[in-house]
């Protein structure tokens, strides 16, 4: 950092220390704009990062967050890669936001979008998802935690399983599978069987540690082992499902769904996920949308509109392409 830029930062930070937050924010914007116009990215970044940090430290989430968002905007204009120093600056700012600050959510969204645009991960950098998800998990913001941790790193299932288990302890004891499933399905549907399996293992080990009286039976065959919980049928369903997806055989999937049909119907919120699992792992076509008028129009005009516009179903690990247009 040049002495000139350092002097500018010190002057702007002094404004923050004097409590003149609005002035600090506005002047920073003006100064940064000058360097952005000149495409002197590193100067703009140094200024924005340092003043944003001082404002956030002073509890000024709104103005600090505004400069943080501008910083991400500079990253995008400069097409900076999500390397560890660029990410590190954003994560440093992120951690200084108060959890109640409304700007934080936008900051996280923009940060992920930048990493998707300038990096190699179209859904955003796993590391950034992991940090954002862990932050939400710590604050018990369950849905946002799930959304980010599902796209996180290999450390994410640990955080997610812990969160889901904690949530479960606030509910009736027979509901365990409902909470385990909240970690398992998101991983399965991103094609991440490893972490779906890991989530179930971490969840059940917490469950059995905390409930010494829970009855558990071990079953094994020549090539697989599994633990059965006689009092928690849906937990067994999930365990067997994770084994079945490795085989990808549609009969196995149907057999499982039939056996547990009553329980699954009672849960009521797994249907969509199970349709996707069937499509991705077992090559079972998604049932057509039940719109009779649309179907009729489709068949009248040569069946073009509906079927062909649908995205090609994605088959995980499938060697043969999925048959198309059978209906």
């Amino acid at each position: 950092m040049s002495a000139k830029i350092e002097k500018i930062i010190v002057r702007l930070q002094a404004k923050t220390e004097e409590g003149q937050y609005y002035e600090a924010q506005q002047q920073t914007r003006v100064v940064a704009a000058r360097y952005i116009k000149a495409k002197d990215w590193s100067a703009a970044i140094d200024i924005l990062f340092n003043v944003a940090q001082s404002l956030l430290k002073a509890g000024q989430g709104g103005s600090g967050g505004d400069l943080g968002l501008l910083l991400i905007d500079v990253y995008k204009q400069a097409e900076l890669k999500p390397d560890s120093s660029n990410k590190g600056k954003l994560l440093t700012l992120l951690r200084q936001f108060d959890s109640e600050e409304p700007t934080r959510k936008r900051f996280i969204t923009e940060m992920i979008l930048w990493s998707a645009k300038c990096g190699e991960y179209p859904a955003g950098e796993p590391e950034l998802h992991h940090v954002a998800g862990s932050l939400y998990a710590e604050e018990h913001d369950a849905y946002d935690a799930e959304r980010h941790l599902a796209l996180g790193t290999k450390d994410s299932p640990e955080v997610l399983a812990k969160l889901e288990y904690e949530w479960y302890t606030q509910d009736d004891s027979h509901t365990a599978a409902l909470y385990a499933a909240r970690a398992i399905f998101p991983y399965l549907l991103t094609g991440n069987l490893r972490d779906a399996t890991k989530s179930l293992r971490l969840f059940t080990s917490r469950l059995t540690d905390a409930n010494k009286n829970l009855s558990v039976q071990d079953v094994s065959s020549n090539s697989s082992d599994m633990r059965i919980y006689p009092s928690l049928p849906l937990l067994n369903f999930l365990g067997l499902l994770l084994l079945a997806v490795q085989k990808g055989s549609a009969d196995l999937f149907r057999q499982l769904k039939t056996k547990y049909a009553t329980h699954i119907r009672e849960v009521g919120m797994w249907d969509e996920a199970l349709v996707s699992v069937g499509e991705m792992y077992f090559g079972i076509q998604r049932p057509r949308q039940g719109n009779p008028l649309f179907d009729m129009m489709g068949s009248m005009f040569g069946g073009g509109a509906g079927a062909s516009a649908k995205p090609q179903p994605k088959r995980v690990g499938g060697s043969a392409p999925v048959a198309e247009g059978l209906d």
Partner: protein
């Protein structure tokens, strides 16, 4: 049919089918579609919000940053918040020593730690202090004797 006998039978059937994807299969995240992840619908019972800790009641950690090699360093940072990141620690070293931040590497229990990690990710919950070793890149390579000694340890 009981849970146990169904599972037994199911596992036996599984054995007869060829494995298509391994148990540790992970799709490359570079191929994920550009949208957010699917999550299950909302639960009837929301997760109870966490009680916010009063400021100052959070655990704090005393951090020691040491370098045994060139240049020798011994920096203590007392009462750091568990949300202090590794990048923050590096920044602190740079401001005290003016060693450029890009040449610093931190190790905890001999393992390198990345900039974006925070103390609570690394240091276990019971600990109240932590020592990091500092490596400064681009300084004279290790002498043979030092390397030999660390090999025997």
């Amino acid at each position: 049919m009981t849970e146990l006998s169904f599972a037994k039978q199911f596992l036996t059937t599984l054995d007869t089918k060829p494995t298509k994807i391994p148990a540790d299969h992970v799709e490359d995240p570079r191929n994920y579609p550009a949208h957010s992840a699917y999550i299950l619908p909302k639960m009837p019972k929301p997760l109870a919000k966490k009680q916010k800790l009063a400021p100052g009641s959070e655990r704090s950690l005393d951090i020691t940053l040491k370098s045994l090699r060139n240049p020798p360093l011994d920096i203590t940072l007392s009462s750091q918040s568990p949300s202090t990141s590794i990048l923050d620690l590096k920044t602190a070293i740079t401001s005290q020593t003016s060693i450029p931040i890009s040449t610093l590497r931190l190790l905890y229990k001999k393992k390198p730690v990345s900039d974006s990690k925070v103390l609570k990710d690394i240091v276990s919950e019971e600990e109240h202090k932590a020592e990091f070793s500092v490596m400064v890149l681009g300084v004279r390579r290790l002498s043979k004797r030092v390397r030999k000694r660390s090999f025997h340890r």
